[in-house]
């Protein structure tokens, strides 16, 4: 009963249309200098992401997609250019490293749930350390959010005890409990089989439809990109620049019947040509991937 009541109050709290979460990437360049040799990871990249948009970034391995995400998240500094979040400067020439904060939540490539905390405590962690909720309130809210995502049965298990798909979903819940402006996902479903992936996609879309959070999603998988995204940004091989932007004008909510439609197939074709060209270049260059 209590769960149900909280659920309605949460839905009220999340507006259907987002007014926040605009990312503006302006002429961003990132040069690594690991051994005295400059390596350009991102070259003069510009991209505008609207509030509540699902923006999918595709490109060959090691092209600098993750670098861009790390700069937005505040893990790496940028070399030149500016990034704004809702017209507020995140990082720029005078402040190359953005502050890390709960307004931009990252879901990591290999998963970064704390293995020593139960899923529940992982989810409750953010509001607790930010001092927004007391420990017991944070746990109550975490329990409600896990219930909403259909994971109440595994809430008290440790990440090592559940499947990778379950862990990844819990990680997204851990991000969303903080009500972030932007969700940054770095190939979160990379190591999953196609069937698990499709379940993960549906779960992610369900969460997106509830929250309408801006999503910055890095992937290799074109079908994933088009199925989930409002726009698909194809990046060039290193140094990364935007090569092509494909708008996906397929109404939401989307379901899996979409995958066999003609419209979907044409979009995949259109994107594939651009990506393939870059993949060949990247393969021939044979450079090591950058973190």
């Amino acid at each position: 009963m209590a769960v149900k009541k909280k659920k309605t109050s949460r839905q009220k709290a999340s507006p259907a249309v987002r007014e926040r979460g605009t990312i503006s990437i302006r002429n961003v360049t990132k040069i690594y200098d690991p051994e005295g040799v400059n390596v350009m990871a991102v070259d003069n990249c510009s991209l505008e992401i609207e509030a509540g948009e699902v923006c999918m970034i595709v490109g060959p391995s090691g092209c600098g997609k993750t670098t861009l995400l790390n700069v937005i998240a505040g893990f790496h500094s940028l070399t030149s250019g500016e990034i704004y979040l809702d017209d507020e400067l995140l990082c720029g020439p005078d402040k190359p490293l953005a502050n890390q904060g709960a307004d931009r939540m990252v879901v990591f490539q290999n998963g970064a749930l704390f293995p020593w905390k139960s899923l529940l405590d992982n989810v409750a962690y953010g509001p607790m350390v930010q001092g927004i909720l007391s420990k017991s309130d944070a746990r109550d809210k975490a329990r409600d959010m896990l219930a909403e995502a259909g994971m109440i049965d595994v809430a008290d298990k440790f990440p090592g005890e559940v499947s990778s798909g379950m862990a990844r979903r819990a990680e997204i819940v851990r991000a969303l409990i903080n009500d972030p402006k932007v969700l940054l996902l770095d190939e979160p479903y990379r190591a999953m089989d196609a069937l698990t992936k499709s379940i993960m996609h549906e779960a992610l879309l369900a969460m997106y439809d509830r929250t309408k959070v801006t999503i910055f999603f890095i992937t290799h998988d074109l079908e994933e990109a088009i199925f989930l995204g409002d726009r698909v940004v194809v990046m060039t091989t290193r140094p990364a620049r935007t090569k092509k932007i494909v708008s996906v004008k397929i109404p939401r909510p989307r379901d899996y019947k979409l995958l066999s439609s003609e419209q979907f197939r044409l979009l995949v074709e259109e994107t594939k040509d651009a990506v393939h060209e870059e993949a060949i270049k990247a393969f021939e260059a044979g450079e090591r991937e950058l973190a």
Partner: protein, 296 residues
């Protein structure tokens, strides 16, 4: 498989997993169905048999002076020991008690100092820059080389021994703890940063639990090292203790008592290691459960 057996298997799957005594019983039954306990038994018999034949059976040259297993066991459990020491005599119990008490003190000191120091060294670059070079220079000095200095520095019998036993395990614990912190995946720190952690949150929620597996590996080694240096110290400048008992018995040709002290060291040392392991498993249920699912 008969129908009955299949339905039994089905009900056992449907049942909730056993707990407590039932779980222990289930594990015992399961382990008795594997070759492991029988091979262990065979190994022990083989070892004891060789020991018996060398000393008491064939009396091989150079081995005939060594007390055999029967002689030692008879003496060990005798109410009226020939050489004056057995499980039931006062001085044996004092020796064991004194050694165990020294280990408890030394190990607690080494852990209490080594773990925090290691955590800070792993976590803070500046702290490491200050402390690490000195630690790395002191660490390779063998514990026996410290003996004279310890005797000069500290008065009496007790403090030099405690110092030596503490020192050895302190280095092991510190180093392992530091490596433990350095082994924590960067993405946990990043995740903690994203989630809005302040520095002390990162320390208590990421650094400490993340280093825990390495810390306990270190503690396992460190308690062994503590025993090693304790016995060495007791042999050189002891007054009671199992190391003292070994040396003292050797001096007066009580070889049976000497072997008894060695065997006692083996058992007591094993028991303390097991306790450390148990403590680690209690504190790291997350890891125990994950490893159990991997079949370990």
């Amino acid at each position: 498989m008969s129908d009955q057996a299949i339905s039994d298997a089905e009900t056992s799957l449907a049942r909730t997993p056993p707990k407590g005594f039932a779980l222990a019983w289930y594990r015992l039954k399961k382990s008795l169905a594997t070759p492991t306990p029988y091979m262990m038994l065979f190994g022990i018999i083989l070892w004891l048999g060789t020991y018996y034949l060398l000393t008491e059976g064939w009396k091989v040259p150079r081995f005939e002076k060594i007390p055999g297993p029967l002689e030692v066991m008879t003496e060990f459990f005798s109410f009226d020991p020939i050489w004056g020491t057995s499980l039931f005599t006062e001085d044996f119990r004092i020796n064991v008690y004194v050694s165990v008490r020294r280990i408890v003190i030394a190990f607690s000191l080494a852990t209490g100092l080594g773990v925090p120091l290691g955590l800070f060294m792993g976590w803070s670059r500046i702290f490491k820059d200050y402390a690490f070079p000195i630690l790395e220079t002191l660490r390779p000095i063998p514990i026996l080389a410290w003996v004279p200095l310890a005797i000069i520095m500290f008065s009496g019998f007790e403090t030099p021994i405690l110092f030596l036993a503490t020192l050895a395990s302190f280095f092991v614990t510190t180093l392992n703890t530091m490596l433990g912190v350095e082994s924590i995946d960067e993405s946990y720190f990043r995740a903690a940063g994203c989630l809005g952690s302040k520095k002390h949150h990162v320390f208590w929620h990421v650094v400490v639990p993340g280093a825990m597996p390495f810390i306990f590996t270190g503690l396992q080694i460190s308690i062994g090292v503590a025993w090693f240096s304790l016995v060495a110290a007791e042999m050189i400048s002891g007054d009671y203790g199992l190391g003292y008992m070994i040396m003292d018995s050797y001096m007066v040709n009580k070889y049976v008592s000497m072997v008894m002290a060695m065997i006692s060291l083996g058992f007591v040392g094993w028991a303390t290691s097991a306790m450390v392991r148990w403590g680690g498993n209690q504190m790291m249920q997350w890891r125990v459960k994950a490893l159990a699912l991997e079949g370990r």
